[in-house]
């Protein structure tokens, strides 16, 4: 599904240039669950942003579902993101002025899904995330765990092929964290490809494969046999 080769990304400030990704090459198969780990500043989030087409690399190739996307314009990337990619963030990134229902509805709105169908899909996914009763509440009225479930609902409501999660349990306690990881596992088992950035060994153990980054380079790649054996 994803094939990146020799990806480079650097950031320039007025005085310094920082190399965030240095010749990264990675393949992710469809329905795979990959965890990316590494110390702060190693380039995990940069890699995730590029994989999520939120940013472009400086050089290298990125093939997504058979299409080269490394040098696409912002609007072309938006078109591909729409409906194909779902995002889950550490700080949930829910829009405060929208209700739970409206937050989850957003991707369908941009896909121009008819109103009735939208309603049906949103309610279905909210029920599945066990927050259907909170549909009319605003994010501030929910606990952290509930907010992250809303964010997951938003990521999957449009049947995204790829879910990108950036430290999804970073702001949650262990109980809520476990629930989120269970949900991600379920989604993966139902066919979604998941790439997750995490600091947590516990969370990483849910993945099929663990990639370790250091100074913008992949230093190790470990297959999680215990998980694969269960499949």
């Amino acid at each position: 599904m994803i094939q990146i080769s020799n990806l480079k990304k650097s950031f320039k400030t007025e005085e310094v240039e920082t190399l965030a990704l240095n010749n990264v090459t990675l393949h992710v198969k469809e329905n795979e669950f990959v965890a990316i780990m590494g110390p702060s500043g190693c380039g995990k989030s940069t890699l995730l942003n590029i994989l999520g087409m939120l940013d472009n690399p400086n050089s290298g190739s990125y093939n997504f579902a058979g299409h080269e996307v490394a040098n696409l314009s912002e609007s072309q990337r938006t078109q591909i993101r729409k409906g194909n990619l779902g995002f889950i963030f550490q700080n949930f990134n829910l829009i405060d002025t929208l209700t739970v229902f409206e937050n989850v509805e957003l991707p369908l709105l941009f896909l121009k899904v008819p109103k009735n169908e939208r309603k049906e899909k949103v309610m279905k996914v909210l029920e599945r995330m066990k927050i259907g009763h909170r549909a009319k509440h605003f994010p501030q009225q929910l606990s952290g765990g509930q907010q992250q479930r809303v964010a997951i609902a938003r990521a999957v409501v449009a049947d995204a092929k790829l879910i990108l999660a950036d430290e999804p349990t970073g702001n949650l306690d262990s109980k809520n964290g476990k629930e989120v990881m269970d949900l991600l596992t379920e989604l993966n088992q139902e066919g979604a490809t998941i790439i997750m950035v995490t600091h947590s060994d516990y969370d990483a153990n849910f993945a099929h494969r663990i990639i370790n980054l250091f100074d913008g380079q992949i230093v190790t790649e470990t297959t999680n046999k215990s998980v694969l054996e269960k499949i």
Partner: protein, 792 residues
């Protein structure tokens, strides 16, 4: 999607009430100002523009003659009386022509039974209603006045005299006026037309005027209207027309110019016989002020929307991540500014309805918020323009964030954006500074006009027409009027003060040069006590006196006349006339200069002479007794002049009328200047609140490290003080240049004093700093822990 956007818009309003209030107050008050100005400008631009189809073909001839080394144009449209007919016959480019004799400052008396009414009248030639609008309730406008004994009257006159427009038709009415008195049959009743500068209540046939015998080329006062043939090039026609009068008299150097009638109202000033900007200057000026006020209000919106981008950055990031394109976001933010503009329009319309009566009082108009199609279209266009201008920058700015940066939620404002935002604040305050200086200077100039020593005392003097019996013999009336206790003095005079003073040339005196023959002298002919009544100071010689029978050929000159004729000892000198039929005068006295014209004019050569033929009676009344004295004068007047309504004017009111437009500008600039600074301050307040909240962490750290509250207050305020300071530095020189230009139109004017500029600078700074300091103090007083905890 629209529903979603509206939902977000309303929820953001609910969440950020202060921002919303600042925006809505700014935009709606700005729009209300703009709408009021629009109604006024629309009315001015449509004045006399009733003939859209033929606006270039219907022209009025403007007559200019050389005098005192320069040119004088008859701005009232007066031309030689036979001109209209002659041009119609002799110029092949003219399809037809017609004369109009109108002097709207004179009124005749129309009587039916015991009802007597004073009304404005004019004489019109055939063809008048081919181009002028005429809303006739009774009578056919193309057929009326075929006989010179016919008259058409306004609905108002018909209702007052006959209580019905229908009954008025065919009735005989009496008209009392010099030259045209007699009985006339009413053959038409009309509704007055609103968008014409020509206002009258009575129409006569021009044939009636022809019958009065003033139809020589040297007789003037008639307007010459022409309708040119289709395809005639006006410029080429004007080349031909310019020296037309030479064909009547080879030494006649006067020049003619055909001006489209619809342009005359706005371009009614002339230089060397050619039209220059007249009222259009005020139309442009106020349009510019409207634009400025709207710009200030739009800038507030722009500044808030961009400064508070951090509040919405997450929303932008999420939307982009889940598939919203830039166009979708541009549409959303444009939609918000548009919605805001239309919401403001509703409030603005309410404000306009509330303020319109007051505005009409100031402008002297009868404007209404009539929702005609073109007005609605214009209002919608103004509102859409407001929405677009307010929204364009925020929409492009907010939709332009990269999703990665937006999702991080930490907005780093780049230096260019910061400069732009600061630049907009500077622009707002510079405009406010210009408006405030203008307000102060205009106020001071008008005050100067009001309080300047005019050289005569205009207070407590009334004037009224010398007509009817009084015209034949006014002496017994004057004797009796002087015995009324509150009357201090009474006399009679030609013309009116200030402004309506006649002038002639063709005088001769000892030692005059050839050039001096063109020198024009203004003149008031009046009674014995006139100079004393007006409180004019005699500088040399003596006043007119009944003891000298020769005084009927005596004149009393002003200082300017003495200067112009270059006589060292003018008293006793002869002042002859090139016309051998006119008696030579003797100068018996010299008076100090007095302003018999507007202060926009220099005092010109002038003299008083004695005459019984003045058309106005003037009475000086003791201060404080006006009411009972005027009642007694009226009683006396009605006794002497039965059938003539007593209508009087205070000389002081005449004077005020002369400066009506300056008065209007003073009041309007006061209001608009006030609103501009209010909206600017609202903008500043919003930014101050925002900056204080942005710098919460910095303030917290500074306080933790022991910085004093006062120092923090100064720190926060100084940034804005710098911006306002720059605005002052930019605004003051511009205001200086603009005001110098405006004052240059006045021959007698104030000088621009430093204090006006200092005052404005201090006022602007104080208002701005008061706005900002309150926020700064609040921020400085906060517990530092709160700020630091929030930032964790």
């Amino acid at each position: 999607m629209l529903k979603h956007n509206l939902l977000l818009f309303f929820r953001n309003i609910k969440k950020y009430k202060t921002t919303f209030l600042i925006n809505i107050i700014g935009l709606s008050s700005g729009l209300a100002c703009v709408l009021l100005i629009y109604l006024w400008v629309h009315d001015e631009l449509n004045m006399d523009a009733f003939n859209e189809k033929d606006s270039e073909r219907h022209v009025q001839v403007i007559h200019t003659y050389p005098t005192s080394g320069t040119f004088h144009t008859n701005t009232n449209g007066s031309t030689p009386n036979p001109l209209a007919e002659a041009l119609g016959k002799e110029m092949p480019e003219v399809e037809y022509s017609f004369p109009v004799k109108a002097d709207h400052s004179y009124k005749g008396i129309l009587s039916a039974g015991d009802n007597n009414l004073r009304a404005k009248y004019q004489f019109i030639g055939k063809g008048y209603f081919n181009v002028f609008p005429g809303d006739f309730i009774h009578g056919n406008k193309h057929e009326i006045l075929s006989d010179k004994n016919e008259i058409a009257i306004s609905k108002k006159l018909a209702m007052t005299l006959f209580q019905s427009t229908e009954k008025a038709m065919g009735e005989i009415v009496e008209f009392k006026d010099e030259g045209y008195g007699g009985s006339y049959t009413v053959t038409g009743v009309f509704n007055p037309t609103s968008n014409t500068s020509a206002q009258f209540d009575i129409l006569f046939s021009y044939e009636l005027f022809v019958g009065s015998g003033f139809m020589q080329w040297y007789n003037g006062g008639t307007q010459a209207h022409l309708v040119l043939k289709e395809g005639v090039n006006l410029d080429q026609f004007n080349v031909k027309l310019k020296n037309f009068l030479k064909t009547k008299h080879k030494n006649w150097n006067d020049i003619l110019y055909a001006q489209p009638y619809s342009e005359k109202y706005l371009y009614g000033k002339y230089e060397n016989g050619l039209p220059v900007a007249g009222k259009i200057i005020y139309v442009n000026l106020f349009s510019l002020i409207a634009l400025f006020i709207l710009a200030i209000a739009c800038i507030n919106y722009m500044n808030f929307s961009t400064a508070k981008a951090s509040r919405r950055i997450k929303e932008i990031g999420v939307k982009k991540a889940v598939g919203a394109g830039r166009k979708t976001l541009i549409f959303q933010y444009f939609g918000e500014s548009m919605f805001m503009a239309f919401l403001s329009l509703i409030i603005a319309l309410v404000l306009v309805v509330i303020l319109l009566p007051q505005f009409n009082q100031i402008t002297g108009k009868e404007l209404t918020l009539n929702l005609a199609r073109n007005v609605i279209v214009s209002i919608l266009a103004i509102t859409t323009f407001t929405g677009l201008i307010s929204g364009i920058y925020p929409a492009l700015y907010l939709s332009g964030f990269k999703p990665v940066i937006a999702l991080k939620g930490r907005l780093r404002t780049n230096i260019n954006e910061l400069w732009l935002r600061k630049g907009l604040v500077v622009f707002q305050f510079a405009i406010s500074v210009i408006l405030i200086v203008s307000m102060v200077v205009i106020y001071k100039q008008v005050e100067f006009i009001q309080t300047t020593n005019l050289g005569y005392n205009k207070d407590h003097i009334i004037s009224f027409s010398k007509e009817g019996q009084l015209e034949k013999d006014f002496t017994p009336f004057l004797s009796e009027i002087k015995s009324i206790p509150g009357v201090l003095n009474a006399s009679q005079m030609t013309g009116d003060l200030p402004g309506r003073v006649g002038s002639t040339h063709g005088y001769k005196w000892e030692g005059m040069s050839k050039e001096d023959r063109k020198l024009k002298f203004y003149q008031i002919r009046g009674g014995y006590d006139l100079i004393e009544l007006l409180g004019i100071t005699l500088k040399d010689g003596r006043n007119f006196s009944r003891d000298f029978s020769t005084d009927k050929d005596a004149i009393i000159m002003n200082e300017t006349a003495v200067e112009m004729i270059k006589l060292d000892n003018p008293v006793g000198r002869k002042f002859g006339n090139l016309n051998p039929n006119v008696n030579t005068k003797e100068v018996i006295g010299v008076i100090e200069n007095f302003h018999f014209q507007s202060l926009q004019e220099k005092v010109r050569p002038f003299f008083f002479s004695l005459s019984d033929r003045g058309n106005n009676l003037v009475v000086k009344i003791q201060a404080g007794t006006e009411k009972q004295t005027i009642d007694q004068i009226e009683e006396l007047y009605t006794r002497f002049n039965p059938g003539y309504p007593f209508e009087y004017k205070f000389l002081d009111d005449n004077y005020q009328t002369l400066y009506a437009s300056e008065e209007r500008i003073t009041v309007l600039s006061k209001y608009f200047g006030g609103i501009a600074i209010l909206i600017s301050c609202l903008g500043l307040l919003g930014l101050a609140i925002f900056t204080a909240s942005q710098r919460r962490k910095e303030i917290g750290i500074r306080k933790t490290l022991g910085q004093k509250r006062s120092r923090i207050t100064v720190l926060l305020s100084s940034e804005f003080a710098k911006l306002v300071g720059i605005s002052i530095l930019i605004g003051l020189p511009i205001a200086f240049l603009l005001m110098e230009d405006w004052l240059s139109a006045f021959a007698y004017r104030i000088e621009l004093r430093m204090e006006y500029f200092f005052l404005t600078a201090i006022l602007t700074m104080v208002v701005a700093l008061t706005t900002v300091a309150a926020q700064a103090i609040r921020a400085a007083n906060r517990n530092p822990i709160e700020a630091l905890r929030e930032e964790e």
